[in-house]
């Protein structure tokens, strides 16, 4: 048992952390859940609605569209980013000239604010003079320019590509750390046992990388579910609301002064995120050794 003095010091040192997290994360989240049970619209009297907002949500087609987009976006982008990130990590783990510089270059997309790179991608996807169509036409991949942001499929693909560009480096760096932690002896032993490159990858690399892979998957999934800035900048939710992410949908209600319904949308979003996090933790046993 700690002495009284130690306990007081501990409390004093922890207080700023606990207060900040409480005041600016826990209380706002609780406030949002609370607001979701009210009619809370600017200039209208506040009124308790019970589950009315949630009932409206169930009948709201735009909500289903946003939910569907958010889930599809997550399902499309996360595996792409993790596989690409793994490839990058494997490359960065090989003996190469100027390794440090190479790593720094890979970090650049991650370091640029998403809203800023989003605008660059907006221009890249420009129908008449963007880089994407220039490449497509020059390489002969298509006879006519592609309408990237004008069709719902094109807009979806454009967002997934832009997001993958931005977040693959993060995944790669985390996986690289996992790779360097694998003892070289294991590979030497596997070579002596006659295992080929592919076998070594499947029998040594992947199993030992699993905990780190799970961390990367969890972080990326949470991040993809709450995607906002990339969508806001590149498509604004369009065309026709086909890329309206849940975060963006909630934001639109806040913007119009409807805090009750906007909060309801936010609550559903973090319920989805929470459910998936719990699933990951269950499946992977992530954090078991720490608890």
């Amino acid at each position: 048992m700690p002495s009284d003095r130690e306990f007081k010091t501990a409390l004093l040192f922890l207080l700023p952390l606990l207060l900040t997290v409480l005041a600016f994360i826990a209380v706002p989240v609780a406030g949002t859940i609370y607001d979701s049970f009210f009619r809370d619209v600017t200039f209208l009297p506040r009124r308790f609605l019970g589950l009315e907002n949630y009932r409206s949500l169930l009948a709201d087609r735009a909500f289903y569209q946003a939910l569907l987009f958010t889930l599809l976006f997550t399902i499309a982008s996360v595996p792409l980013e993790v596989v690409l990130g793994l490839v990058f990590a494997l490359i960065l783990n090989r003996p190469l000239p100027a390794r440090g510089l190479l790593r720094a270059a890979v970090l650049i997309p991650w370091a640029i604010p998403a809203a800023v790179s989003g605008r660059a991608f907006e221009l890249i996807y420009n129908f008449s003079y963007g880089l994407a169509n220039y490449l497509v036409l020059t390489l002969g991949l298509s006879d006519a320019p592609v309408n990237w942001l004008g069709s719902s499929y094109g807009a979806f693909a454009s967002l997934v590509i832009a997001d993958a560009w931005r977040t693959t480096p993060f995944v790669a760096i985390i996986l690289l750390a996992g790779l360097t932690a694998i003892p070289g002896d294991l590979y030497r032993q596997a070579t002596i046992d006659g295992a080929g490159t592919l076998q070594q990858f499947a029998r040594v690399t992947l199993p030992l990388l699993k905990p780190v892979l799970m961390v990367a998957l969890l972080f990326r999934t949470i991040d993809a579910l709450r995607v906002f800035d990339v969508v806001y900048v590149i498509t604004g939710g369009g065309p026709g609301g086909s890329t309206n992410a849940l975060s963006l949908y909630g934001y639109q209600y806040f913007l119009s002064g409807d805090f009750g319904y906007g909060s309801t949308i936010s609550v559903v979003l973090f319920a989805v995120a929470l459910a998936l996090s719990i699933l990951y933790v269950r499946v992977s046993g992530f954090g078991r050794e720490l608890a």
């Binding site: 949002t32 490839v87 190469l96 800023v116 909630g250 936010s266």
Partner: protein
């Protein structure tokens, strides 16, 4: 002599493809910022270069580019410094003192970082509005501190855990109090870790978008990502040259930091993740 193996060559080619993937959009950004017209890829006559867009964003006060940049630097700098200070105090306790509920605190704080920003922002808006703080620095600094704290805490805990406890014991024998130990023993030893944490907290605050979008209204507090996202031309056409010049100008410090401190950033990022 070793038999020829295609492997190093393949690695090199793969590395080049990877490099292209990462750098081409950034290169396109730079090129467009110097191009007189953004449609140079379509034109027969090709690319005409100019510095005019840089001149515009740096001299035209109505664009408020330098205001946005200053806001961003101050807000991110103060947020990161506060977050690192708060996280260092907590990390010291979590790695040095025997108190109950350590795991709960660590995982509770981590869980707090998993909430979508949109689920915080309406309440934050109401509170800041009630306080009359909308469009001021504190309206962003306070949420940012909370936002980057989980990351800072996890990284610092893993750094502090590596510092031998013998150092503390020796200092205690010399009669140092706990705050003195933290200040005179731990902090100097952990300085590289503190620096990496500050860098990451700075980059995360600098890049934040949704809070800044909702909690600011104009150049007095608006940060650069929001400023660039909302950059519009007078007559409806998008001023791509200026936007890209502003983007490059903004990104350069971050890119320079990344190039200079690549090892520290990687260390910080991976400490948070791999140890977890």
């Amino acid at each position: 002599m070793k038999p020829f193996s295609p492997r190093p060559l393949l690695t090199l080619v793969a590395a080049l493809v990877m490099l292209l993937f990462c750098l081409v959009p950034f290169g396109y950004m730079v090129l467009t910022s110097f191009a007189r017209q953004p449609d140079y890829l379509r034109k027969q006559e090709g690319l005409a270069l100019t510095l005019e867009h840089y001149h515009d964003i740096l001299s035209a006060e109505s664009l408020h580019f330098l205001d946005y940049l200053r806001n961003s630097l101050v807000i991110s700098g103060v947020s990161a410094a506060c977050a690192v200070a708060i996280a260092a105090l907590a990390a010291y306790v979590l790695t040095r003192l025997r108190i109950p509920g350590k795991g709960t605190i660590l995982f509770g704080v981590l869980a707090a970082s998993l909430f979508p920003q949109v689920s915080l922002v309406s309440y934050l808006f109401k509170v800041m509005n009630a306080l009359g703080w909308i469009n001021t620095y504190p309206a962003l600094i306070l949420p940012y501190i909370a936002w980057v704290l989980p990351l800072s805490l996890w990284i610092l805990v893993s750094y502090f855990a590596q510092i031998p406890l013998d150092l503390d014991r020796a200092a205690r024998v010399d009669g140092c109090s706990r705050p003195q130990i933290l200040l005179r023993v731990i902090l100097p030893v952990a300085a590289p870790g503190i620096f990496s944490t500050f860098l990451l907290a700075f980059i995360f605050s600098f890049n934040e978008f949704l809070f800044a979008l909702v909690l600011t209204t104009d150049y007095q507090a608006r940060t650069i990502p929001v400023g660039i996202a909302l950059f519009q031309g007078l007559h409806g056409e998008i001023p791509w040259g200026r936007i890209m010049a502003a983007s490059v100008f903004t990104t350069l410090p971050v890119v320079a930091l990344t190039l200079l401190f690549q090892r520290r950033i990687v260390q910080g990022l991976t400490r948070g993740a791999v140890k977890g």
